[in-house]
């Protein structure tokens, strides 16, 4: 039995927006820790892992671990019926084949109830190893989104170089080339805009911009984003929320020999 009441319904709406382009169906794994989701896009190039910790809900109750298989497009359609300020309650029985959603407005005079059919999704849990990254860049999420969108005009991939001076995003395509460099800054006045770099070793990696742009759909969830990179492992793009996170992993592009 799951019962989870979320004070700010907008959070759930934003979360769905952040992942539904990448993934069509996924299991919401509910346990007493909270609600988690992990899924790969169908090309096996990117992975999404999100977590909503139990303390983000008030109240949160989950007696037994449950996997709720959901078509994300359908869920986001249902969530469109919720107002931004609505309180959202998720409920599911242990054996149920539906997820019930209740939306209450702030004045508590309008209550809407929806039920979403669940599906059996055959998915295996993938162990993501803890990695010590060579470079961790923490920056403004809006800035990251802008860079990705700007560079997408030029090419479908971007090269990210991190040195101790700063981080450089560069793209080269048929119509020309472009690069954006952000210098390491400890901008105390505007904490949100600062670019911070923790560096063990310089890195230079290539990534598909299509995926990065897709990841930036999570921008509304957090003002900050961290990019963690190492030579041969996937890039980790993380958006932290008050009680949880959305993490995207993206495999780097590798040189083509022909």
């Amino acid at each position: 039995m799951l019962e989870a009441r979320l004070q700010t319904g907008a959070l759930l709406k934003k979360l769905l927006e952040a992942i539904k382009e990448l993934i069509t169906d996924a299991n919401f794994d509910c346990s007493d820790n909270g609600i988690a989701l992990q899924a790969m896009d169908n090309s096996h190039v990117a992975l999404v892992a999100l977590l909503l910790r139990h303390d983000g809900f008030e109240p949160y109750r989950c007696d037994r671990s449950l996997a709720l298989g959901v078509n994300l497009l359908s869920l986001s359609k249902v969530l469109r019926c919720a107002g931004n300020d609505d309180i959202i309650t998720l409920k599911a029985d242990d054996t149920a084949d539906v997820l019930s959603l209740t939306f209450e407005n702030t004045d508590n005079d309008r209550i809407s109830e929806y039920e979403l059919k669940l599906m059996d999704i055959d998915s295996e849990h993938l162990g993501i190893p803890d990695t010590q990254y060579d470079a961790v860049v923490s920056m403004s999420s809006a800035e990251f989104m802008r860079i990705c969108k700007d560079l997408q005009v030029l090419s479908d991939s971007v090269q990210i170089d991190v040195t101790k001076e700063g981080v450089k995003f560069a793209a080269k395509g048929e119509l020309g080339s472009g690069a954006v460099t952000l210098k390491q800054s400890a901008n105390v006045d505007k904490e949100d805009d600062a670019t911070l770099i923790e560096l063990q070793q310089n890195v230079s990696l290539n990534f598909s911009l299509k995926y990065l742009v897709n990841f930036t759909k999570a921008t509304p969830l957090s003002t900050r984003v961290t990019l963690s990179m190492s030579g041969e492992v996937p890039l980790l793009v993380e958006y932290k929320m008050e009680a949880g996170y959305v993490r995207y992993y993206l495999a780097p592009k590798i040189g083509e020999d022909n």
């Binding site: 090309s43 162990g127 040189g255 022909n258």
Partner: protein, 828 residues
């Protein structure tokens, strides 16, 4: 930027896969770097290797195994010994499963014994070889899948094709005999290499196992060997996962359901290219370049994938899963179905290993191109069913051989009556060969393949063939074959020659069908020709007019082209199949049970004289009556039965353009070409031809051509024409809208061409302004005869001549508005 998208990989998810984790990999790499034992300039290679040691190793092994088996095979082929056929399978299975030396020795023993046997029976051999040569010729094999050839094959050089058919049929009989003998031999010696399957009993069949079989089949041109591979695989399927047998059969013939249900694959190449690009992250440009070079999407997909490191390895594909997804893809339609299709293809592609991507892509394209004819699949199915009987080892060799031969015949004949694996396969699994004949019979509602006629060159051929045999002549109507079914429940259906349901195309005929049958008919299957009919003149209109009828969503009130049905055979009546009855009986029943209705339904006009003069008069009469010529059929005896799907010598056709004196050749100039695909990769696949108008000094496009070329011809043309490529068409080329070849040529080469017909075309411009103010003339079914080195482009056939040839044809004058949208030519 030359980049490739790698797949997400952290480390193996399951301990089972662990060769090393990503971290330790990385550490290793680092250690290497630190120690300086690896030059640091090679990180990219490391990168691609390290994340997927396990996969790499597996692939490497298969590659090694593959090349090994190929090498051995080559040796075998060189030694020119047909009966060593099974060895390559063994070699391949050896790599797949554990090599068993014991088994191998046994096999070798078997080969030697058999060699002795075959030497004794060698008189058969030369014939088979000759036949094989013929069937390898790309122009006569049915397996050639190039669009161009396929389209052309239907009518092109029917004479040749039919001859080849004959020989092939004979060859097949011999082959079946040989195969049966071999299997009988093997089983009586109780060899048990069938346990070498790569999956366990009850599990779904892995797609890889099928692909493995395809791979073996593709590598050999020998039909006997192909049959051998397929039988082996089917036995495994029957023994381990019989529920998958039906889907295996469908995937082998690359179909999704019986033809009459109309669900087909054949996804456009742009969509497939997109799926490859999206699932591998390669640039579209590169994939397209690869495609232009290789000409096979399957191989492009496979190559795009094979350098791809994977770690979170998706689950292996299974046959039921692949088949279901293919069916889903084919059934998708409407809004955003394109995207959904690409998504589904991507999911499959991403799970493909080794060679799977190659065959998956080809399946999606609708062309498997491994040289596996449906006939072979049917025979293999029959033999596999017999050989997987539990008591098979107890049966004596001779008896087994006999049973195998018989089984192949039974399944073939049942399939020709009831072309529906959905019914045949379960019946076979349940009731064996004997049960099949009782369970599966000609059934109204399931179209059977029509019987076809053999072409003849001269009337005297007919007398030669039918000496001392009763025969009859019928008009050969120039229309569309139509098989009309009435079911027991009273519903009616019309099927085309290719078993498509055409009921929607002929709502008017459907309406009237009731009138044609007399009250004493409950159910029937009629074989007819639907012909365009001019109600005012009360005469037959040419095929071109019929082809202007819409194919779908036809509303009765919109119909402009009226159709008359000419019935010439009755295959089924009131619950009884008449296939084995002689034509005389069938015709009698036909006349007894149906009514002619003026201008709507008629019996094919026939004549029973055996005098050649009468036949000549009848032929001339048929041509005057706007028919194509005559059909000549045996009337009585066992040779007068209806043979579904066969091009039989018991039916001969005499077409006016086959007869000597008709169909003068034409000399045309090559002005453009289309890049070849499939078998024609690397050369031009088709050409654009033009005639010359000396008055206006211009070249006018007349037709595309893709038939009549030998492989050598194509290569020669490619070499010669390459010299004359020009970047844009000359200003004096007069072209229609659709005339867009991939390359243009300066007017240099003149070819001699023959064709079936000339027709008015909105697309081509030959003789424009002479016969029709805005339309030109095109050739129907053109075929290449030879290069005219003695002719200059200016001395090519002139527009004036073309116009004259068109007028000389004994066709009804096609009103210009009738021919609108008629394009006699085919797409590449």
């Amino acid at each position: 930027m030359s980049l490739r998208q790698s797949r997400l990989s952290f480390g193996p998810p399951k301990p089972a896969l662990v060769a090393s984790t990503a971290n330790s990999d990385k550490n290793e790499a680092k250690v290497n770097k630190d120690a300086g034992s690896e030059p640091t300039s090679k990180p990219s290679e490391e990168k691609s290797k390290t994340p997927s040691n396990d996969v790499e190793m597996e692939e490497e092994e298969t590659v090694r195994g593959g090349s090994k088996s190929k090498k051995r095979e080559r040796r075998l082929v060189d030694s020119d010994d047909e009966d060593t056929a099974q060895e390559p399978t063994n070699a391949a299975e050896e790599t797949k499963v554990h090599a068993s030396t014991q088994e191998h020795r046994e096999e070798e023993l078997a080969t030697t014994t058999k060699k002795l046997k075959l030497d004794a029976a060698s008189p058969k051999k030369p014939k088979t070889q000759a036949i094989e040569k013929i069937s390898q010729n790309p122009l006569t094999t049915p397996e050639v899948t190039d669009d161009l050839i396929e389209a052309a094959e239907k009518e092109e050089a029917e004479l040749q094709a039919a001859q080849a058919d004959d020989i092939e049929q004979a060859a097949e009989a011999v082959e079946i005999k040989q195969a049966a003998a071999k299997w009988a031999d093997m089983f009586s010696r109780s060899s048990d290499n069938l346990e070498a399957a790569s999956w366990k009993k009850g599990e779904p069949v892995p797609y890889a196992a099928l692909c493995q079989t395809f791979e073996l089949i593709e590598a050999t041109p020998k039909r006997l060997q192909i049959l051998d591979y397929l039988v082996k695989f089917l036995i495994q399927v029957i023994k381990l996962s019989p529920e998958s047998l039906l889907t295996v059969i469908y995937l082998s013939i690359n179909k999704l359901c019986p033809e009459y249900e109309g669900l087909e694959l054949g996804i456009g190449e742009s969509l497939l290219l997109k799926a490859i690009a999206e699932s591998t992250g390669r640039e579209m440009k590169k994939i397209k370049a690869d495609y232009a070079e290789i000409g096979d999407l399957g191989i492009v997909a496979m190559n795009s994938r094979s350098n791809q490191p994977t770690m979170f390895k998706p689950k292996a594909l299974t046959i039921p899963h692949v088949f279901k997804t293919l069916k889903d893809i084919a059934s998708l339609s409407g809004n955003s179905s394109q995207k959904q299709k690409v998504d589904k293809i991507k999911v499959l592609l991403v799970s493909c290993r080794n060679k799977e991507a190659k065959f998956l892509m080809r399946s999606l394209e609708g062309k498997l191109r491994i040289g596996l004819a449906e006939r072979t699949v049917v025979v293999a199915l029959a033999q596999a069913i017999v050989l997987s009987r539990p008591d098979i080892k107890k049966i004596s060799k001779d008896k087994l051989q006999h049973e195998l031969e018989q089984a192949a015949d039974v399944v073939k004949s049942v399939y020709s009556e009831l072309p529906c694996y959905d019914l045949i396969v379960p019946a076979l699994l349940k009731g064996d060969i004997k049960g099949l004949q009782e369970a599966c019979k000609l059934t109204p509602g399931i179209p059977l393949k029509p019987m076809l006629a053999h072409p003849t060159k001269a009337l005297t051929d007919i007398l030669d063939r039918f000496e001392n045999i009763a025969f009859t002549c019928e008009y050969k109507y120039d229309g569309e074959r139509a098989q009309i079914h009435k079911l027991d429940d009273g519903s009616m259906r019309i099927y085309s020659r290719n078993s498509e349901n055409m009921s929607a195309k002929y709502p008017d005929v459907m309406e009237r069908l009731v009138k044609f049958a007399k009250a004493n008919t409950r159910s029937f299957v009629l074989d007819c020709e639907a012909v365009a009919w001019d109600r005012e003149q009360k005469c037959i209109l040419p095929f071109q007019v019929l082809s202007t009828r819409k194919r779908k969503d036809v509303k009765e009130e919109d119909i402009k082209v009226q159709v008359c049905i000419f019935a010439f055979d009755l295959l089924y009546l009131n619950g009884e199949s008449l296939l084995r009855e002689p034509l005389s009986k069938r015709r009698e029943l036909l006349l007894d049970h149906f009514n002619e209705v003026d201008g709507e339904f008629a019996f094919a006009k026939s004549m029973n004289s055996t005098q050649i003069e009468d036949i000549q008069i009848f032929l001339d009469q048929s041509v005057t009556d706007n028919c194509e010529g005559l059909m000549v059929k045996t009337l009585d005896g066992t040779e007068a039965s209806y043979e579904p799907s066969k091009r039989s010598r018991n039916w001969l056709k005499v077409k006016k353009d086959y007869l000597a004196g008709v169909g003068d050749s034409i000399d045309l100039v090559v002005i453009g070409a289309y890049i070849g695909k499939g078998k024609r990769t690397g050369v031009y696949g088709g050409f654009l031809l033009a005639c010359y108008d000396p008055d206006r000094e211009e070249y006018q496009s007349i037709c595309k051509i893709g038939t009549g070329f030998s492989e050598q011809d194509l290569e020669d043309h490619y070499k010669e024409l390459k010299e004359h490529v020009i970047p844009a068409p000359r200003s004096y080329y007069i072209l229609g809208e659709g005339n867009r070849p991939d390359v243009w040529f300066a007017p240099e080469k003149v070819w001699e061409i023959k064709c079936a017909d000339l027709s008015i075309s909105p697309v081509y411009k030959a003789a424009i302004g002479i016969v029709d103010a805005t339309k030109g003339i095109s050739l129907r079914f053109p075929r290449f005869i030879r290069l005219r080195e003695d002719k200059s482009p200016e001395s090519a056939t002139s527009s004036e001549q073309i116009a004259e040839m068109y007028k000389d044809q004994k066709l009804n004058t096609v009103k210009s508005d009738m021919s609108k949208g008629v394009d006699m030519d085919f797409d590449y």
